[in-house]
C-alpha cells in the first residue's frame, strides 16, 4: 500500500512540475512562433545560421522557463539547512539579530550564464571581430564616396526614433528601436543592452528577422524608386587597391572614430582589429580563428540566448507589436534613403552610378549587396554590381556603428 502511495506521489510531483501545469497559453504561442522560424530557417533558408539558434532558444525557454533563471541564495537556519541539504558544512553564514543563517545557493539555468555575454556587451564586439576578419574593405577604399550611401541608409534609424517617441516609448527605448534600421544584429543588441535592456528580446528578434527578410523587403522599394534606365547602369571597374592601403585603412578608421565617438570604439575597434588581422597577412591563424571557430561559437551563444529572451510573458505584448512595426519602417526607410542618395549620385556623376547600390548601405553584409546585384541583373543580365555594392555595404557597417555611438552618447 505504501509503495503505491509513494508511486502516486512521485507521479503527482512529476505532473505538477511538468510543462502541462507550469506553462500558460503564451508559452504555447511562442512555441508555435519558434516552429515558424524553424520553417523559415530550414525550408526557406532565411539567415539560417542566426534564425535557427534564435528559434531553438525561443523553443527551449518556453518549454522550460527556468533555463534562464538567475542564481539565488536562500538564507536558512541550521535546522532548515540540515533538513534540506543534510549538513551545514561548507555554507557561508550571515548573522541577523544574533541568529545565524546559512547561505544556501541555487544555481542559475544554463542560458542565464551564457546570456551574460549579451548582457555585458561581450558577444556583439566579438562578432564584429569575426566580421572584420571576413570583410574586404577594398571596394570602399577604391571608391570612398560609398561612405555617403552608407551614411544615407542610417537616416532610417533617426526617422524611426521619431516614430517610437510618438508611440509612447521613452527616448532611450526609442533609440534602441531605431537602431533596427541599421540592419546590423550585433549593433542592435549592443545598443539595446546599453539603452533599453528590457526590450532586448523583441528588438533582437525584429532585427534578425528583418535582416533575414532583406531579399523580400528591399526589391519592391528599390524598383519603386528607380527607373528601368537607372537600374540598367553598368558601373566602371573599380581601381585596384594596394595591400598597404588595406593595412592603413583599419588603423585610420579606429583612430578617427574612437577619438570622435568613444562610445562606438568597442564595436568599430573589434571590427577593425579583425580586419587588420586579415590584411596584415602575418596573423593567418588568428584571422582564421576569428572568422571561423570564434565567430561560430559566439553565433551559437548569441543566437540561443537572444532567442531565450523571447518568453511568452515578455514577447506577447503590445510594445512588441509596435517594435516589430517600427523595425519594418526603420528597415524600409533605410533602404529608401540609400536608394534616393544613389539617385542623387547618379545625377551628379552623369549616370555613372547605379542607384541600386544605395540600398546596400543598410549594413546586412553581404545580403544587401547580393540583393543589389540580383535586382541589377534582372534589368541587365551582364551587369555585375556586387563589388560596387560591397562598398556601401561595408560603409553601412561603419555607419551603423557611428549611429550607435551617437545614440548611446546622447541618450544614455
Amino acid at each position: 500500500m505504501e509503495i503505491l502511495e509513494r508511486f502516486w506521489k512521485a507521479i503527482e510531483g512529476i505532473y505538477q512540475g511538468s510543462g502541462l501545469i507550469q506553462l500558460d497559453w503564451r508559452n504555447y504561442v511562442m512555441i508555435a512562433v519558434a516552429c515558424v522560424l524553424f520553417y523559415l530557417a530550414i525550408k526557406k533558408q532565411f539567415e539560417p545560421l542566426l534564425l535557427l539558434p534564435i528559434a531553438f532558444g525561443m523553443l527551449l525557454v518556453n518549454l522550460y522557463p527556468a533555463i534562464t533563471e538567475a542564481p539565488q541564495t536562500t538564507l536558512m537556519n541550521a535546522a532548515e539547512c540540515i533538513k534540506a541539504k543534510g549538513t551545514t558544512e561548507g555554507y557561508a553564514t550571515t548573522v541577523i539579530n544574533n541568529v545565524t543563517y546559512y547561505n544556501v545557493p541555487h544555481y542559475g539555468g544554463l542560458l542565464y550564464y551564457l546570456y551574460q555575454g549579451v548582457k555585458l556587451g561581450i558577444y556583439p564586439p566579438l562578432i564584429f571581430l569575426g566580421v572584420g576578419a571576413m570583410t574586404d574593405f577594398g571596394p570602399l577604399i577604391a571608391n570612398p564616396k560609398s561612405f555617403i550611401l552608407g551614411a544615407a541608409a542610417q537616416i532610417g534609424i533617426f526617422i524611426t526614433f521619431i516614430g517610437a517617441i510618438f508611440l509612447g516609448f521613452t527616448d532611450a527605448q526609442a533609440g534602441a528601436i531605431g537602431i533596427i534600421g541599421g540592419a546590423d544584429g550585433p549593433t542592435a543588441i549592443y545598443v539595446t543592452t546599453k539603452l533599453a535592456p528590457e526590450l532586448l528580446g523583441s528588438i533582437a528578434i525584429a532585427a534578425y528577422s528583418y535582416m533575414a527578410l532583406v531579399p523580400i523587403i528591399q526589391p519592391p522599394i528599390m524598383k519603386a524608386l528607380t527607373t528601368k534606365k537607372e537600374r540598367a547602369v553598368v558601373m566602371e571597374q573599380l581601381r585596384p587597391v594596394s595591400k598597404l592601403e588595406k593595412i592603413i585603412f583599419p588603423v585610420i578608421i579606429v583612430v578617427v572614430i574612437s577619438i570622435l565617438l568613444p562610445d562606438a570604439a568597442p564595436l568599430v575597434g573589434m571590427l577593425m582589429f579583425g580586419n587588420l588581422l586579415k590584411e596584415s597577412g602575418v596573423c593567418d591563424r588568428l584571422s582564421k580563428t576569428a572568422q571561423n571557430e570564434l565567430m561560430n561559437i559566439i553565433t551559437i551563444f548569441l543566437g540561443t540566448t537572444v532567442g531565450a529572451t523571447a518568453t511568452g510573458a515578455n514577447f506577447l505584448s503590445l510594445s512588441t507589436l509596435k517594435i516589430i512595426a517600427l523595425g519594418l519602417i526603420a528597415f524600409m526607410m533605410g533602404t529608401a534613403c540609400g536608394v534616393l542618395f544613389g539617385k542623387v549620385m547618379y545625377k551628379v556623376t552623369g549616370g555613372k552610378v547605379n542607384p541600386l547600390i544605395g540600398s546596400a548601405g543598410v549594413s546586412a553584409v553581404p545580403m544587401a549587396a547580393r540583393v543589389s546585384q540580383r535586382v541589377g541583373q534582372e534589368e541587365n543580365p551582364g551587369n555585375f554590381l556586387l563589388m560596387h555594392a560591397m562598398g556601401p555595404n561595408v560603409a553601412g557597417v561603419i555607419g551603423s556603428a557611428v549611429a550607435a555611438g551617437v545614440l548611446m552618447n546622447v541618450l544614455k
Binding site: F161, S242, I252
Partner: protein, 134 residues
C-alpha cells in the same frame, strides 16, 4: 512627455544624428581619398624608379655583351593579320597562355586575334570567381 517635448527631442535627435553620421563619414572619405592618393603616388614613383633602374641595367648589359643568338620559340609568332585594336602586350599574354596550354611538344601558330563583341566565357568565369566569396 508632452507633445512639444516629443517634437523637441525628435528634431534634435534627427539633426544631431544626421550631422554627426554624415560629418564623420565625410571626414573618412576625405582621409581615405588623401592617403589613397599619397600611397598610390608613392608606390607609382617607387615602381617607376625600379623600372628605370632595371632598364638602365639591361641597357648596360646589352652594350657590354656580344649579340646573343635569337631564342628559339616553340610558338612561332606570326604577323597578326587583324589587330582589331589589340595591343602588343595582349598578343604576348595570349601567346604565353597558348604556350602554357599546348606545351612545347606541339607547334602552334597564332594567325589572328580578334576582340569579341559579346562578353566572353573567360570574362564571365573571372567575374564569377571574383564574386564567389560573397
Amino acid at each position: 512627455m508632452d507633445l512639444m517635448g516629443k517634437f523637441t527631442i525628435s528634431a534634435s535627435m534627427l539633426l544631431t544624428g544626421f550631422a554627426i553620421v554624415f560629418g564623420v563619414l565625410l571626414l573618412l572619405i576625405f582621409i581615405i581619398w588623401l592617403y589613397g592618393t599619397i600611397v598610390s603616388n608613392a608606390q607609382n614613383k617607387a615602381a617607376q624608379r625600379k623600372a628605370d633602374k632595371e632598364l638602365r641595367k639591361q641597357k648596360e648589359l646589352l652594350s657590354e655583351e656580344k649579340p646573343q643568338p635569337k631564342p628559339v620559340s616553340v610558338v612561332e609568332k606570326q604577323p597578326v593579320v587583324e589587330s582589331d585594336g589589340v595591343s602588343d602586350e595582349i598578343v604576348a599574354v595570349i601567346s604565353a597562355a597558348v604556350y602554357t596550354m599546348y606545351g612545347s611538344k606541339q607547334k602552334v601558330k597564332i594567325k589572328s586575334i580578334k576582340r569579341r563583341k559579346t562578353q566572353s566565357a573567360w570574362a564571365k568565369a573571372a567575374m564569377l570567381e571574383n564574386n564567389q566569396p560573397f
